[in-house]
């Protein structure tokens, strides 16, 4: 299918999703098949499943790419370059899912930055996942793309003033390239804890419930994180298919992640069947021979199949595109099912009291919104790939005077990091509401916003380090 046709299709799907969302906004959340828990329904459905799937996959993709960068794996450069747009698109999709799920999204936009509470895992999802990780990824992508934008500006491509603006400050010098590499390393290292932390926080949102025994919560969290890694590797495999070595590494990683996921799912199920907890037992039976058994066995089958295929590809050291795409699709479907079961099946069959078992059949509105959000994410991905595509060229940039020096760069970078850290710490302390009434307000309204601002300021240290040059004459690049 040609690019133009794909774009048209995606735009059409996005329009359908937007229309469904408008219907939901006009008629209320009653258009969804969500109900009161205990009255035969679930309170969290397809949107939250979508949020968990997109966010965990995006975070896993970004984390794996960061590890590759920290280890300076040159073979994986193509993968890491695609990972950023892929991760950003995934995070955008997860944001879309959350906004569609909220009863009052307009209140969330105001209240979360004003009175968000760090005790809630949701705080981590909007600060660490949607805030810091997304911002850092965008910063990383912008910094990585500057050489390409500079080249486009030099070539005089269409919109050359935009490319010139975006690449301002970039000079094709040896020190600039060195700075680029350093920023790549340190930014990847600095972002990695946020990505892994975000993944763990999402795991807590999905896995931890009152009344669920600790071991099962831990199992659910670990399974969530590992299966997120499997889905991420599946998509990275697709991104890496052009490079044989990278794709072989990706297939191995995918095989390992799917293997561990299968092991965790099966072990968790066996333990759940042997537990004395009634709710856990009911949940396990619902997966084995209850209404969710088809989903459960489909998840296991898809995981098993994708694991086998990926290991076979790794063994043969050949990754055909069609097989890579199929494997990616299979593993993503399996992980989406895993999210669905851990979230929905627990609400329908994991209740401790004798409420009737629930059921959930997503409505066409829910499916349409999810499809629309996915299409929007795909459009974002295609846009970023188009805008940030990297081209190699040895043409030196014409010489121009560079005013700033090394001392200024170190000073600004250090100041940005230290001030950012201080602001983030103060924001977190203020949000936590130390010395204020329990469970109520942050000490200062806007504490979460201050925390976010601190995180953003820390991210901007990388920009400062890269943008302020040494004063070296451009055109003296040794490479």
């Amino acid at each position: 299918m040609k690019v133009r046709q794909s774009l048209l299709l995606l735009t059409a799907l996005f329009t359908v999703g937007a229309y469904a969302w408008v219907q939901q906004a006009l008629q209320g959340d009653v258009v969804m098949d969500l109900h009161t828990i205990g009255a035969g329904g679930v309170a969290w459905g397809l949107y939250v499943v979508g949020d968990g799937f997109f966010a965990s996959t995006a975070l896993a993709i970004l984390a794996v790419a960061c590890v590759f960068r920290v280890l300076r794996l040159r073979d994986m450069e193509g993968v890491t370059r695609t990972a950023l747009p892929l991760g950003i698109a995934g995070l955008v999709a997860s944001l879309g899912c959350v906004m569609a799920d909220l009863g009052r999204p307009e209140a969330a936009i105001v209240n979360l930055p004003l009175v968000g509470r760090p005790r809630s895992p949701f705080f981590g999802t909007f600060t660490v996942v949607a805030g810091a990780s997304l911002f850092a990824s965008v910063v990383h992508l912008v910094l990585t793309s500057r050489p390409a934008w500079a080249q486009r500006a030099r070539k005089g491509e269409r919109w050359s003033w935009v490319w010139r603006l975006l690449a301002c400050g970039w000079h094709e010098t040896a020190s600039a390239k060195q700075r680029r590499e350093r920023v790549d390393f340190w930014l990847s290292l600095g972002v990695l804890p946020f990505l892994l932390g975000g993944l763990a926080i999402l795991g807590v949102v999905f896995g931890v419930r009152a009344g669920r025994p600790t071991w099962q919560s831990v199992f659910a969290v670990v399974t969530f994180v590992v299966s997120g890694g499997a889905a991420g590797c599946g998509l990275l495999l697709l991104a890496a298919h052009a490079c044989s070595r990278a794709s072989v590494i990706a297939t191995r990683m995918l095989g390992v992640f799917t293997g561990i996921t299968v092991l965790l799912v099966v072990t968790g199920q066996i333990l759940a069947l042997r537990t004395p907890y009634l709710s856990v037992h009911r949940y396990a039976r619902a997966l084995l021979d209850g209404p969710w058994s088809r989903f459960f066995f489909a998840e296991l089958g898809l995981l098993f199949l994708s694991g086998i295929v990926s290991l076979a590809m790794a063994w043969r050291k050949k990754v055909p595109l069609i097989l890579a795409a199929t494997t990616a699709l299979l593993v993503c479907a399996a992980v989406a099912l895993e999210r669905f079961l851990v979230l929905v099946a627990w609400q329908t069959h994991g209740l401790g009291l004798s409420w009737p078992a629930g059921k959930y059949n997503p409505t066409s509105i829910e499916w349409s919104v999810l499809v629309g959000v996915t299409a929007a994410a795909a459009l974002v991905f295609l846009f970023l790939i188009k805008v940030c595509r990297t081209e190699t060229s040895d043409a030196p940039e014409p010489a121009s005077p560079v005013p700033a020096g090394r001392r200024l760069r170190s000073l600004v970078t250090a100041a940005s990091l230290i001030v950012g850290l201080a602001v983030a710490a103060s924001g977190l302390a203020l949000s936590a509401g130390f010395a204020s009434a329990p469970f109520l307000d942050p000490m200062l309204p806007g504490g979460p916003l201050v925390f976010l601002a601190g995180l953003f300021l820390m991210g901007l240290a990388a920009v400062a380090y890269e943008l302020i040059s040494d004063g070296e004459v451009p055109g003296s690049a040794k490479t």
Binding site: T36, R117, Y277
Partner: protein, 274 residues
């Protein structure tokens, strides 16, 4: 090929740096986990120096399952009746409801919000829309709720309700509503407040009369307790050992729902005698 010692130094220093960073990250994570897992803030003392802890005792032996408490609660708290569309989708709101009989049991159990001492819903609310009052009531600020329904997913008793559509009352006559309780809009979660407005009013009356609030005046204060024809529901201060509710809570028949959830509910049931 001979190895460059400089490379080894760089590699070593990087390893040390990575190890140091990993250790620091582990320390921070442990610290954060301890902070999150820390017990709730200590309860605030009441004006008379004694900390009140409002609670409810429901005597299952006395309960006739007439659902009078359900109706009274709906009326008192402006809970919108389920219209045809809402009812068809089985989304009625009942702050006080009946739990279906468990296997081996015959009778349903009246079940309001448990007003837990360690409420999971409060812990997960991202904006502090649900919180615990000084007197132990798990309250909700409707206006602050963003409708994420995390509290619904977290509550092990399933005692929270979401307004899936705009609430409406038959005839749309606003004068039929209780002026003391604000109706909740679409998109927010709501729950039992133990008739907090009645407690406030009683406390204010006692303050104006310059008389202490008696246990007798409290026992039937919430709408559910007031309407119960068999007086199966008793309200009062669990922290006051002389109160009726504390005496009943100390009964050998007393039990709490889902003790394994570790939420320590302040709604206590008296088992049916065999």
């Amino acid at each position: 090929m001979k190895r460059d010692p400089f490379d080894d130094d760089v590699r070593d220093s990087r390893r040390k740096l990575l190890a140091g960073l990993a250790a620091s990250a582990a320390g921070v994570m442990v610290g954060c986990a301890r902070a999150v897992a820390a017990p709730s803030a200590p309860p605030v003392q009441a004006a008379d120096g004694r900390r009140r802890q409002w609670g409810l005792v429901i005597d299952l032996d006395r309960c006739a399952r007439c659902a009078g408490c359900v109706v009274a609660c709906q009326q008192e708290n402006n809970v919108a009746p389920a219209g045809p569309r809402v009812a068809a989708r089985t989304r009625p709101i009942h702050w006080m409801d009946f739990l279906p009989p468990a296997p081996g049991s015959f009778a349903a159990t009246p079940i309001p919000c448990m007003h837990c001492q360690d409420p999971p819903c409060v812990k997960v609310c991202p904006v502090g829309a649900t919180y615990q009052t000084d007197e132990g009531i798990t309250a909700q600020i409707w206006d602050r709720c963003i409708g994420c329904r995390y509290c619904m997913a977290a509550c092990p008793y399933a005692r929270r309700y979401f307004n899936w559509s705009e609430p409406s009352w038959p005839g749309e006559d606003p004068s039929s509503l209780n002026p003391d309780v604000a109706p909740r809009p679409r998109g927010v979660v709501e729950k039992c407040t133990l008739c907090h407005h009645r407690i406030r009013a009683a406390l204010e009356r006692a303050r104006l009369d310059e008389e202490p609030l008696s246990d007798e005046a409290l026992r039937r204060l919430p709408a559910c307790a007031q309407s119960c024809p068999t007086q199966a529901i008793t309200f009062g201060d669990l922290a006051d050992p002389t109160s009726e509710v504390a005496r009943l809570a100390a009964s050998p028949r007393a039990m709490r729902l889902l003790p394994e959830a570790g939420t320590r509910p302040k709604v206590i049931y008296l088992r049916e005698s065999t």
